[in-house]
C-alpha cells in the first residue's frame, strides 16, 4: 500500500492567498513571490484543501502522462521554494480534487512564475527590524 503524501502551506515563512483564481504566495525568508494561474492554481488549491499529492496527480495522469509529470515538477518546485511542506496533521478534503474540472475546461498550464523585485519589502521582519515609532515596512538602519 502506497502511503499518501499531504502538503500544507509552509507557515509562518510563507503567506499565500487566492486572488480571483490566481494564487499569490510570498516566501518571507527568501523574499521571492510567486504566481500560479490556471491548472497550477487548481493544484495548489487542491493540495492546500487537504487532497493528497497522489489524488491530485491521478486525474492528471489519466488525462495525459505529461500532465502528471509537469505537475510533479510543479509540486517539487512549490516545496523547494519553501511555499508548502509535508503536513504533520491533515484535515482531509471532501469530494474530488478540482484539477479534473480544469482539464475538462481546457486549462492545462502548470506554470509557476517567480519574482524578486520586492525582496527588501518581503524580507523585512515586521516585528524586529522596523522603526518602532513607524512600524513595518520601514526598516531600521541597523537591521
Amino acid at each position: 500500500m502506497v502511503e499518501a503524501t499531504y502538503l500544507t502551506v509552509a507557515v509562518p515563512n510563507c503567506v499565500a492567498d487566492d486572488f480571483g483564481g490566481e494564487i499569490v504566495a510570498l516566501n518571507l525568508d527568501t523574499g521571492f513571490y510567486f504566481s500560479l494561474r490556471d491548472l497550477a492554481a487548481a493544484v495548489w488549491r487542491d493540495l492546500a484543501a487537504g487532497h493528497s499529492v497522489e489524488s491530485v496527480l491521478g486525474p492528471l495522469g489519466a488525462q495525459a502522462p505529461h500532465l502528471a509529470e509537469d505537475a510533479t515538477r510543479l509540486i517539487d518546485r512549490i516545496q523547494s521554494e519553501g511555499l508548502m511542506q509535508p503536513a504533520v496533521a491533515v484535515v482531509l478534503a471532501e469530494g474530488d480534487p478540482s484539477v479534473a474540472t480544469f482539464i475538462a475546461g481546457g486549462m492545462t498550464s502548470l506554470v509557476i512564475d517567480s519574482y524578486d523585485d520586492l525582496r527588501d519589502l518581503v524580507m523585512t521582519d515586521p516585528i524586529h527590524e522596523v522603526v518602532e515609532e513607524v512600524g513595518w515596512p520601514v526598516r531600521r538602519e541597523d537591521a
Partner: protein, 355 residues
C-alpha cells in the same frame, strides 16, 4: 480593587498591568446600560455596529459622517467612545518606560486585546478579541484627536471589517455606472483634488480619504464615510462650489469638510468595481498624462499610501497589495490644472477598464 486602577488620579498602566486595565474597562462598559450613554445602531461595510458615546454631540457628528451600507450580513460589534470625566471613572495613564510598540502589542495580545500604541496621553483605542467590541477611552471628550472626526472610529472599524481579502484603505475613488478607479497617494499628492474634479465633472465617488477595498471577488470599493475634504484653493478651482457650501469652519489641517451630497447631489455611489488604480501627482500641466507604473514600484508606493495611516501592518498586508497589483493596472496620473480635463481623463480611464 482591580490591578491598574487607583482612586482619584489617573491609574498608571504599564505592560504588566495592561491586560487587567483593559479587562476592567470592558467589564465596566459591558455593565453600562445603553440608557446611560448616547447610542446609534449603524450598518457599515455590510456589518451591524452599535456606536455608544458619553457625549451626544460627538455621537451625532460621528453618525452623520459615517456612510450606512445596505442590510448588514454580519455582526460588527459595539464601539464605545467614552470619556472618563463624563462617567465619573478613572482615566488610564500610560506609565511604561519601555517605549517599544511590539512589547505593548504583545502585552495587549496576551490579555486578549488588540490596541493601538498610546502615543497620546490618556487615549486608549482597544478591541477585545473575544467579544469583538472596541472602545475609545479618553480622559475628557475634548481629548479626541482633532483628525479623528475626519474619519470617525476608523481604527476599530478597520479591525472589525478586516479580513484576508478586505481592508480599509487610505484612498479616494471615482466611478460611473458601477465601475471605477482607486485614487491613491500620500497627503498632498492630489487625491482629494482629483476626486473633487471628477465629481464636478459628473462622476461619482465612494469616498476621498478612506474606503473599504474588497478582493473576495473582483476588486471593489465601498463607502464608509460621507465626507469630503478640500482646502480653500481646491474649492475655488471648482466653479460655484464655494457658494453651494456656504460658510464652513476649517479643520485642524486648514481644510474644509463637507457632505458630498450637499456639494454634488447624488454623487455618492454604491460599490464600485475597480478597473485601475491612479496615483495622482500635482503637475499643473496643460493636459493630464498617464504612465503605467511597474508593479514593484507601485507596491512600494501603495504600502505607504494605502496603509500608512494604520499601525501594525503585516506580511498579510503586503500579500493583499501584491495580489491587488497583479489584478489591476496602476497608472501615475500627472494632473493638469483644469478640473474638467482631469474629470474627462479619469472618465476615459474608467471606460477603458470597465470590462
Amino acid at each position: 480593587m482591580p490591578a491598574g486602577v487607583v482612586a482619584g488620579a489617573a491609574s498608571r498602566v504599564d505592560n504588566g498591568s495592561l491586560g487587567a486595565f483593559f479587562d476592567r474597562l470592558f467589564e465596566r462598559l459591558d455593565t453600562t446600560p445603553d440608557d446611560r450613554l448616547h447610542v446609534a445602531d449603524l450598518s457599515l461595510g455590510g456589518a451591524s455596529f452599535k456606536l455608544r458615546c458619553s457625549n451626544r454631540e460627538v455621537l451625532k457628528q460621528y453618525s452623520d459622517r459615517l456612510a450606512p451600507s445596505g442590510a448588514a450580513t454580519a455582526p460588527g460589534g459595539r464601539i464605545d467612545i467614552i470619556a472618563a470625566a463624563d462617567m465619573g471613572w478613572t482615566a488610564g495613564q500610560w506609565a511604561e518606560p519601555d517605549w517599544k510598540m511590539h512589547h505593548y502589542d504583545e502585552s495587549a495580545a496576551l490579555g486578549g486585546y488588540l490596541a493601538t500604541y498610546p502615543y497620546f496621553d490618556r487615549q486608549w483605542i482597544v478591541r477585545q478579541r473575544r467579544s469583538g467590541n472596541a472602545a475609545y477611552f479618553l480622559d475628557r471628550m475634548e481629548d479626541l484627536l482633532p483628525w479623528d472626526s475626519g474619519a470617525p472610529v476608523r481604527v476599530p472599524l478597520n479591525w472589525a471589517l478586516h479580513t484576508a481579502k478586505r481592508r480599509m484603505v487610505h484612498a479616494g475613488s471615482l466611478g460611473v455606472d458601477g465601475h471605477g478607479v482607486l485614487i491613491a497617494g500620500p497627503g498632498g499628492a492630489g487625491k482629494s483634488g482629483t476626486t473633487l474634479a471628477g465629481l464636478a465633472g459628473g462622476l461619482q465617488t465612494v469616498g476621498d480619504d478612506y474606503v473599504l477595498l474588497d478582493q473576495h471577488e473582483h476588486p471593489t470599493v465601498s463607502p464608509l464615510y460621507r465626507l469630503l475634504k478640500q482646502d480653500a484653493a481646491g474649492i475655488a478651482r471648482i466653479p460655484g462650489l464655494g457658494d453651494r457650501l456656504g460658510a464652513l469652519t476649517p479643520n485642524w489641517q486648514g481644510k474644509f469638510e463637507f457632505d458630498p451630497d450637499i456639494a454634488f447631489p447624488g454623487c455618492v455611489a454604491g460599490p464600485l468595481r475597480l478597473g485601475a488604480i491612479l496615483l495622482p501627482a500635482v503637475a499643473m500641466q496643460a493636459r493630464s498624462t498617464l504612465e503605467r507604473v511597474p508593479r514593484a514600484e507601485a507596491v512600494r508606493y501603495l504600502v505607504d499610501a494605502l496603509f500608512g495611516e494604520f499601525q501594525s501592518r503585516s506580511a498579510e498586508d503586503l500579500l493583499f497589495l501584491t495580489g491587488l497589483s497583479m489584478r489591476l493596472p496602476i497608472y501615475r496620473m500627472r494632473l493638469s490644472a483644469d478640473p474638467a480635463e482631469i474629470a474627462a481623463t479619469v472618465r476615459t480611464v474608467i471606460g477603458d477598464h470597465s470590462s
